[in-house]
């Protein structure tokens, strides 16, 4: 396959960036999208140019590092995959592919396609935990039975990989899906209920502070989320937030 790539290049956070065009040949359908970029980078290095910088690590869709906006969609046109799991067989010979960083005020660009998602960490730090000591003096794991349905739903919410595609896809750059996934995971477990009130208030406050947009319920996040995190989590968080606010 021969492809034309239009890639956002930006030297550092302060620099002004721009789209640059590259031609690449010999792309194989079995390559992942990132392997295709590896090939491009090898070519750039050979030519004495600077390779394109992007985040990646596990390359199997679980670490949440990779974060590319491909042809106007986070993680590209395929569904329920991350960029590293997107394979080139989804594209055709002669295609032009536009590659940009995830864009949001709360995700400033570090370099080229790499963005700073520490805002997500700060949301978690504001309350994304259960306050138990980790030194091991706790009750037996089976002391509190948990309804399988709740446990499964909690797990589903907990599979969020913190990639930020929800923010990138949202026209408002809202982080509601991400935040609600964590709130839901704990809200559904008896262990998490204890601090539920304070947790949701603190996490939402931090989310707002970071400069994410509001939710318009367009549902774009759910469609683009590589882990299929459901919008129900956002409703649950709204509910949790309302009751928490009323409780004060």
């Amino acid at each position: 396959m021969k492809l034309t790539l239009k890639i956002w290049r930006q030297k550092n956070a302060q620099a002004k960036g721009s789209m640059q065009t590259y031609a690449i040949d010999g792309v194989d359908g079995d390559m992942s999208f990132l392997e295709m970029l590896d090939v491009l980078n090898e070519q750039l290095i050979d030519k004495g140019e600077e390779p394109v910088v992007f985040d990646h690590d596990c390359r199997e869709g679980i670490c949440g590092s990779c974060s590319l906006q491909i042809n106007g969609e986070p993680h590209g046109p395929d569904r329920l995959v991350t960029t590293c799991q997107l394979h080139m067989r989804k594209f055709n010979d002669g295609d032009t592919i536009v590659i940009e960083p995830f864009r949001a005020k709360a995700f400033p660009v570090i370099k080229d396609l790499m963005v700073d998602r520490s805002s997500f960490d700060r949301i978690q730090q504001a309350g994304g935990f259960i306050s138990v000591n980790t030194s091991g003096n706790t009750i037996d794991a089976n002391a509190i039975p948990i309804n399988k349905h709740d446990a499964d739903e909690s797990f589903e919410a907990a599979t969020c990989i913190g990639c930020g595609a929800c923010v990138a896809a949202c026209k408002n750059a809202s982080a509601m899906l991400f935040t609600s996934a964590k709130v839901s995971q704990f809200a559904l477990l008896p262990q998490g209920r204890v601090e539920a009130t304070q947790r949701v208030l603190n996490m939402v406050e931090q989310m707002d502070k970071e400069g994410f947009g509001n939710c318009t319920n367009t549902g774009a996040c759910e469609v683009e989320c590589p882990k299929g995190i459901s919008l129900e989590n956002i409703a649950r968080m709204n509910r949790e937030y309302l009751t928490a606010s009323l409780k004060g």
Binding site: E50, C58, G61, C63, G64, F129, S135, A151, A158, G162
Partner: protein, 666 residues
């Protein structure tokens, strides 16, 4: 330096308790004056940091990713072992201990392994309290599955994302401490050297990967929890950034490196598809609970399949060779990893491979699908179900258990594993070897500790499935935070360590020199070029089967490649910016040294054990042949300038509570 393993005396089952009672503690008020650096925020580092902070120490954490949540532990799929005996199938601390020692082919310490088994149950309690959503049964209690090399069901899991859930648990515990101000996280920071002052580890030099700046950080103790070094093979199931750098730097400063040649080659990975391949993807071992491994019985069928003329589903039952079930009737598809991997290699080498490259075997779920389907039909009172209905019901059950793995497979290979068997092949996965540590997890450098996959401690020559997560969390939550007190109790009056000490100057200068050398080296070949060549040497000559001749060649080839690297490598960009090529270059430079020591260790070990298989030492049936007389020891290597000059120290292993036998899974 001699190897002092500080193993407690007394009966096995009481050693850990007794040890905890005997070691010195630091009082809470004093802990506030003590700083600890934790490098690595995977399961081991993340959990250690959280508990240390909770105990009151001031903790700084370092990781090269943008968030602790992305550490490589996140990728672990199948599960975590614990001797809870919830299934009532005869499990116990002793049995977990026994299985682990046997699985490790009698090359690990009894004391460490027993402690691991002992605290394992606590891990599950801890994680559940933290909100880790493990899989449950309808009654609301925790569910278990079984893993290779054992006869009980003791593996706790969260679908195929156990590592993710456990890591997010540790990350949340860290977040709680960050919120309290007790942990200060340094993400996108890479440790590039250890600073030793008066013979003690007192800090590190780290590079801020965003700005490129070199930073000095001081502390009273340094914990290395930076994971394994499987990426020395270039292609492995490890994350792209997994590296040996931190371990190697401390090795060069005096920490012995133990058993570098013990590498686990995981039997169920997606086969290599082409030259562009950047990493390999694991298909969890849990799949062997339900999948049956086979190749065609006849060479001509295998050939026809490779050429695309025959489909696996068209092959009759009697034309299939379920070689694991045939060779190991009692463990069948659930033999340990090393055994399963070698068996796959043996079949493929004999010409029975089933993909284009001839390096793949089948992992087939059709029997399981039908079996579950029938069960479901009975449970749902469906009378005379059609084959299609049964299949459909069965596929649902399988989807519930392994849905995400099947999806992952389909995305990569573009085949539907519900309908046609998966293709798998062994790949480098885990390194049992690592930094040598004593019972307290301290390396041979006072004040420098190693935890998790980075140390060598618990798995001997082969790790059992679902035991790495267990070890990482045991080290981090329950062992290291206590044992470290023994050392730190002598440091309560030391006060803050200054980063202006000449030792910091020196270390920083050395790091800077290396970085400059790489940047200014106007070579012609990229870093990956060298990494791939190193990987090929390792895989061909130091991989699943090794021999003297190959190992000797590997040693000289790696040496030559290293020299070429330093002359010819080309690193674009500058030092003072985000520069991933420079990061890679630093890591590959260390791999090029480790690779040689690795081969040297493999060459010296004239026996086959666990993941280390020397072709010269095998039984007539092709099973590994141990030499307990001469090799029942831990090989701890001391750095002396060049890898070839490394000096061997032996820590002999004593088995008092377990009878040393030939490992058999027949």
């Amino acid at each position: 330096m001699s190897l002092e393993s500080r193993l407690p005396k007394g009966p096995l089952a009481q050693k850990w308790t007794k040890h905890k009672n005997d070691i010195n503690l630091v009082n809470p008020a004093n802990k506030r004056n003590i700083d600890v650096i934790v490098v690595g925020t995977g399961l081991a580092g993340g959990s250690a940091a959280a508990t240390l902070a909770e105990l009151g120490y001031n903790v700084k954490t370092f990781c090269y990713q943008d968030s602790p949540r992305r550490a490589h532990s996140i990728a672990a799929q199948g599960g975590i072992n614990a001797a809870k005996n919830y299934q009532g199938d005869g499990d116990s601390t002793y049995r977990l201990f026994y299985d682990t020692i046997k699985g490790g082919d009698y090359r690990s310490r009894e004391e460490n392994v027993y402690r691991l088994a002992e605290v394992s149950a606590n891990i599950i309690d801890q994680c559940v309290a933290q909100g880790v959503p493990f899989a449950r049964e309808y009654g609301g209690l925790l569910d278990n599955r079984s893993f290779g090399g054992v006869l009980v069901s003791r593996t706790f899991y969260a679908k195929g994302q156990t590592g993710q859930q456990l890591l997010l648990g540790a990350y949340s515990a860290m977040n709680r401490q960050i919120n309290r101000g007790k942990i200060k996280p340094y993400n996108r920071h890479e440790m590039l050297d250890l600073v030793i002052v008066d013979g003690k580890a007192r800090g590190i030099i780290a590079r801020d990967l965003v700005t490129g700046e070199l930073e000095r950080h001081s502390a009273h103790a340094v914990v290395i929890a930076t994971g394994g070094y499987g990426n020395v093979f270039f292609l492995s199931t490890n994350a792209m950034g997994s590296n040996v750098t931190a371990s190697w730097k401390i090795h060069k400063k005096g920490a012995y490196f133990a058993n570098p040649c013990y590498t686990q080659i995981h039997p169920t990975c997606i086969p290599v598809s082409g030259d562009h391949q950047s990493k390999l993807t694991l298909m969890s071992e849990s799949l062997r609970n339900d999948g049956r491994i086979w190749v065609p019985k006849k060479l001509e069928d295998a050939k026809a399949i490779r050429e695309g003329k025959l489909k696996p589903t068209d092959l009759a039952e009697e034309d299939r060779d379920y070689y694991l079930e045939r060779r190991y009737p009692s463990f069948g598809n659930l033999v340990p990893r090393d055994v399963a991997s070698r068996a796959a290699k043996e079949r493929c080498d004999a010409g029975f491979g089933v993909n284009k490259t001839g390096e793949a075997v089948y992992l087939d779920f059709s029997s399981a699908i039908m079996r579950y389907g029938k069960e479901q039909a009975v449970m749902n009172h469906i009378e005379n179900p059609s084959v299609d209905t049964i299949r459909e019901l069965g596929e649902k059950v399988v989807e519930n258990k392994y849905g995400n793995l099947f999806q992952m497979y389909e995305k990569i290979v573009d085949q539907n594993p519900y309908k046609t068997p998966m293709m798998i092949y062994p790949a480098v996965h885990y390194t049992m070897g690592g930094v040598w540590v004593d019972y307290n997890l301290m390396t041979t450098i006072p004040g420098c500790y190693a935890a998790g996959e980075a140390n060598f401690s618990d798995h001997g020559a082969n790790r059992l499935g679902a035991s790495a997560l267990m070890q990482g969390l045991a080290d981090g939550y329950f062992v290291l935070p206590y044992t470290i007190g023994d050392y730190l109790s002598k440091d309560i009056r030391t006060g803050k360590i200054s980063t202006d000490l000449p030792e910091f100057d020196e270390a920083e200068k050395n790091v800077r020199t290396t970085l400059e050398k790489l940047i200014n080296n106007k070579g012609s070949k990229s870093v990956d070029h060298f990494h791939k060549r190193l990987g090929k040497i390792m895989w061909d000559k130091v991989g699943m089967a090794r021999n003297e001749k190959g190992l000797k060649e590997a040693i000289s080839e790696i040496k030559a490649l290293r020299a070429e690297f330093w002359n010819e490598v080309k690193v674009p960009g500058t030092m003072d910016e985000m520069n991933p090529e420079l990061e890679k270059a630093m890591r590959v430079a260390d791999f090029l040294e480790l690779g040689e020591l690795f081969a040297k260790d493999a060459l010296h070990r004239n026996e086959s054990c666990g993941g280390h298989f020397r072709e010269e030492y095998q039984t007539e049936e092709g099973e590994a042949l141990r030499d307990d007389e001469n090799f029942m020891y831990v090989a701890a290597w001391e750095y002396k300038g060049e890898p070839s000059d490394a000096v061997l120290h032996k820590e002999s292993l004593e088995y008092e509570n377990i009878e040393v036998k030939t490992r058999s899974y027949k």
